[in-house]
Symmetry: C4
Subunit: 181 residues, 4 copies
């Protein structure tokens, strides 16, 4: 397959941009509480305690997005060019990353609702499968650097297979729990 | 015409930045619903179902912006410099891209309202004409690389002409429907 | 003076990022109206007509920020390095650019309120003076490229002086109008 | 230790992106007031005066983030590569930067509430300790350029130690004040 006209550099730019924004607007879900007594630290503390799951979801989501970003760096490092088919999977990843703050907000606000978990794990599920598909397509298209093929390719494919298995089980479990209610 | 003092690199940066943000804030229109029973997946599902058109508009708009970004890459790849006149058309494209989340929100919330379609298709309409104008101006200013002139120029111009024709018909149809009511 | 440790490239990145965001969140002020009849294009049109000044302010502000960005490119192009003192003026410009969406929202919502004009023109006023100061400081620090000194330096300084004069008069007029009420 | 696969350039991109967004969404906390008389500058002035602490918090936070960004440039300049352990501390810094707008909003809305100060200073506290840890880890991993080790390393470590001491005292004081109420 022929390389896409997309420059690696600009795809990185778009990727970093969307991740930077997704990681930052996670926090927009945290609202400054309305206080009856503006000087009361006790009241603020009590109202903030309600936000505890939102904070938890924020931290979890920041770590997840940070990990995704890290892994994307690693894989991109091994590619020498991008084909159009790879670009499609990259855009699926970006769509999920952009959608992530909504899932994080949902989970933060309704942590005990089984539908929240379906959304959250479903978003990660699609993301990870797109990463794996991208990796396989990259190999078949000859887009990986020769030294990556010799060394890292197998290790990363195996790790991705494991990640996809785990998230599929997790996603399946949340769907099962949703319908078993 | 003389090249602009604008460096290609920084225009790409601004472009990628605005597209990254537009693609990410599309999702801000999706609001976490207020639930009477926070544990009820059924209630959440019912309330989320109301958002179906918003989700649909989100996916459509993400695809449209992704396509625009992809095409911009392709054309930018063929330019060796930017003139000031080209910059004006680039900024029109950016203004439309920044305006896109509003149109997407309008269409998502009122999908059956004929004015929403006018806004949405009108935004794409202006964007595509600006792309075409940019392409013609680039050629006349001698900003295209010699190999682009020989090979891709004609093909891209033809594709743009077709896209502009289709969006003009679509836009005309939505305007007609608005007044035919 | 010695150059700052700031790389030109990263300052450009921050600048382009902040401008991209400021230009995009201008549109967040445009809210999708609440309609009694979701199918009524007439009602939507009437409610959108109320937003006419917000649209106007959006377009004006996009053009202003676009121009600022363009001019910044031009001047940055002539600098070979950044000193710490120049960095301060750059950060003042960035603070004003980040503050701009608020001023645009104020002007869009209350176009006839004299205080809105004071805020809006005041923001541009500080921005332009910071640009001018930056230009003079750059020259004194020897940060301009030799060919810029010969050719463009004087022309740009003169244009900046004129711009600063115009905005000072405009700002003064809005302040006068505020107190003359 | 071995360098991470993370390219310095992309980490800079993510860093600049998150800082650009954090610095820009600070302003989203400033809301256009609702006026009974849209033409009344006096009413707008009175309502804006209520926002004075929000403005103050905005300016302070912009300066703090600007300083952080400046210092990050300086230290990054001295590193020749990034190890995975350094990346963790960088992500902690980014998480704090992304969290900063919330703290700024809290302090701006409830400046006299002792819990706001705990949040605000706590955020800076974690940020600065992560910077220091990053610096020490960078040295131990041999990630600093040889000339940095000879010249700037000691000076920067000392400045960081001082900054960490000051913020720890300040943070301790706000915590003390919270419980001493």
């Amino acid at each position: 397959m022929t390389p896409s006209v997309i420059s690696r550099n600009r795809l990185e730019c778009l990727f970093d941009g969307i991740f930077a924004i997704a990681m930052t607007i996670l926090v927009l879900e945290l609202k400054v509480p309305d206080l009856a007594d503006p000087h009361s630290a006790v009241e603020m503390g009590r109202k903030m305690a309600v936000y505890a799951p939102v904070f938890g979801s924020y931290v979890l989501s920041f770590v997840v997005l940070g990990l995704f970003w890290f892994r994307h760096n690693e894989q991109f490092h091994h590619c020498q060019f991008i084909t159009n088919r790879m670009l499609v999977f990259q855009l699926v990843q970006l769509a999920m990353a952009a959608f992530f703050p909504f899932c994080a907000a949902l989970l933060g606000r309704y942590p005990a609702n089984s539908l929240s978990s379906v959304f959250y794990s479903g978003c990660v599920f699609i993301y990870l499968w797109a990463v794996w598909a991208n990796w396989l397509v990259a190999k078949n298209a000859g887009a990986l650097k020769p030294e990556a093929l010799a060394g890292q390719y197998g290790r990363i494919r195996q790790r991705l297979r494991r990640s996809c298995l785990v998230i599929t089980l997790l996603f399946g479990y949340t769907v099962f729990k949703l319908f078993a209610q």
